[in-house]
Each structure stands twice: as C-alpha cells, then as structure tokens.
Symmetry: C2
Subunit: 215 residues, 2 copies
C-alpha cells in the first residue's frame, strides 16, 4: 500500500472541484442574476477551467439549479437546528423571529438568489426534484408555538402558521433584499449596526403584538 496523499493535496478530486464550482457560481449568480452571470467569469475565478463546469453540470441552467439546491438545502438544515420549544409561547415566537432575522442577516447570497429566482417566476425551482421534496421544518415549529399560545390564552389572534412565517420572513427579507433601493431613496442603511439592532427587536415585538391581538 503506497502512501495516500490527503484530499486537499490531490490534484484530481471530483468532489473538491464540484464544490469549488458551486461556491464561485453562487457568488456570481447572486451578484449578477441568472442572465447577467458569466460562465467564463466563474471559470476564471477558479483553480479549474470552464470545461469542468460543463463536465459536471452540463449547462449554465443546470449549474444554476444546483446552486439553488445547495443553498436551500443548507438553509433548511440550519432551520432544523432551531430550538425554541422549551420556551413559553410568547418568548418562543419572539426568539424564532429574531433568529430568522439573524439568519437572513447572515445569508445575503441566499436572499439574493431567492429574489432572482422570483424574477424568473421560480421556473428553475420548479425543474428541481430536490427542491420540490424539501420540507419546511420551520412551519411545524410555528404550528406548535401557536397551538401552545392559543391553549394558554396568551395568543388571541387566530393565525395560521404559514401566514405567521410569511409575516416574519417578509420583514427580514425586505430589510436585506431591498436595502440598496431603500438606502438610495430614504437615506437610511438598514444594514448598518444601529438600525439592524432596532429592527431585530422590532420584528419580535411585531409578531408578538399581532398574536396577542388588541387587548
């Protein structure tokens, strides 16, 4: 048995090459949109060549779909680690909102990909079997919090889990996705630390106030 070089030293390594393509492609698509992204540009920013992109992914569109699949899969995996069910309903939903906020704050590229995919009416997502069968763990969490809150009487508003998720997401998504036009037109950088912290508290208070209803 000869000495095996460690993975990082191997000159030929399919997994490593594929992973690098996906990483660089994600940046490129997020920065320039689907049509604006350049396959040649992705290739130039890598150790490897454009030929490899086509060898592994076949086409620009399939590469883009692979990027979406990877991004969504990671996000869903992260969602599954959220644990707020040991908290009382009010604190649970507030914490969930704030974690969602943090999550959006940290995954700018993912937010952009979602925005881009919506420009294209989700046509690529619909082509992916992986994404079609990717559950949404966060909905179950919200459902249980809502049930607990209604049972204890703390939540008065009769809300649906998808709606509540949408309410939280919209706030967090908008702050990140629209920060540039918002900044240009209102002169306020929603991503700046001082605004970020206030808006983080705001999203939590917003959901709690909504669910508690008009006392």
């Amino acid at each position: 048995m000869t000495t095996q070089p460690v993975a990082s030293e191997r000159q030929r390594d399919a997994e490593r090459t594929k992973a690098e393509i996906l990483k660089v492609a994600q940046q490129e698509f997020a920065r320039h949109g689907y049509a604006g992204a350049r396959v040649d540009e992705i290739a130039e920013r890598m150790r490897t060549t454009k030929r490899m992109i086509y060898y592994y992914f076949g086409s620009k569109e399939r590469l883009y779909i692979a990027v979406l699949e990877k991004a969504y899969t990671e996000v869903r995996a992260m969602e599954r680690t959220i644990d707020v069910e040991h908290l009382a309903p009010v604190e649970a939903i507030r914490t969930l909102a704030e974690l969602t906020f943090d999550h959006h704050d940290l995954h700018r590229d993912f937010i952009k990909l979602v925005a881009i995919e919506n420009v294209h009416q989700a046509e690529h997502i619909r082509k992916s079997e992986v994404l079609a069968n990717l559950g949404t763990p966060v909905l179950d969490v919200i459902s249980r919090i809502l049930d607990a809150g209604q049972a204890s009487g703390e939540f008065v508003t009769d809300a649906d889990a998808i709606d509540v998720h949408m309410m939280i997401s919209s706030f967090c998504f908008f702050r990140v996705a629209n920060q540039h036009t918002f900044g240009a037109l209102f002169g306020r950088d929603m991503a700046a630390p001082e605004h970020r912290d206030r808006l983080r508290r705001m999203v939590g208070e917003m959901v709690v106030a909504y669910l508690r209803g008009q006392a």
Copy 2:
C-alpha cells in the same frame, strides 16, 4: 392653415414613440431582468425599430434608467393622492397599510423592477438625478398619523415613520415579489383572491397591534 391630423393618426410622433418604447421596455425588463432583457425583443414588440431606441435613449442602460424613472415617478404621484388624514389615527394607519397593499397588488411590474434593481445594488438608481430628488410623500403622512396617535394615547410604541413604512412595505412587497418561490415551496398562492383578502386585513391588524403595543 391645413387640417391637422390628430396625434394618434400622425405617422411621426416623437412623444408617442418614446412612450411606446418605455412601455414595452418596462415589461421586458420586469420579465427578464436587466441583463436578461433583449433590446431586439423590445424592438420587435413595437411599431418602430431598434434604431429608435438608440435614437431616443442612447443605450440599454439609459433606457433602463428611464424606465425606472417613469415607474417611480408614477408611483410617487399616486402616493400623493392618498388621503387618510381625516381618519382617527388607528383607522388612518390601518387604511394606509391596506392602500399600500392594494397598490403593490396592482403594480407588479414596478415591484419586479425594484427587486431587479436591488440585485444590482441600486447602481442605476444612483445614476439618476430624477430619482435622487424624488421625495417620499408617504413618510410625511405616516409621521402625522404617528404624532396624532401618540398625542391621543392610542399608540404606545415609540415608532419612527421610516420603520413603520418599512414594516408595511415589507409585508406587501414580499407577498407580491416572492409569490413564485413561496408558492413552489409552501404550496400556497399568496396572490389568489382568498389569500389576498386575508393578508390584506392582516397587514392592517399587524401595524395597529404593533403601534398599540402590549397593553
């Protein structure tokens, strides 16, 4: 003096041609994004030719900026017609939220242009003098409602007009802008009438609950 043909019958009419270019271009940019939009495609869908686009607008980018300017100007003009100040604070802010909701519902192309412009980090908006000096009338309206509500004691939360505007916009924007990925992943069409009506009430209740605070 010879008989004047009416504007619509004139074969040569700069204003009419420019207006048609802008209208078709808005659709094309909204549908395919900045990079995905095709100047030739815009030309083909018109009475006139591609050469005219360059004659009047000079470049694809300047055409795109002109489209943004027109869209934003129209939206701001519409905002100025909003009149809720004869209402009591709670009803005023609720109505404003619902009108904002309707407004987003009606101007899908505009929403998409905003999303697209954010993908490009608002670089085109920043190049436009028109847009830099376009006020935001809605902020004054919100300010006055907040002042009235705080004076009367109905609003407890110490909120800032820009934040409240952001809260309302985010909800309305997200429902329209992200309807495709949301629909694909959660199996719910937020644009369908039954959901639309519920979400419309929801945005109003959300702001009111937030401003009234935890009683």
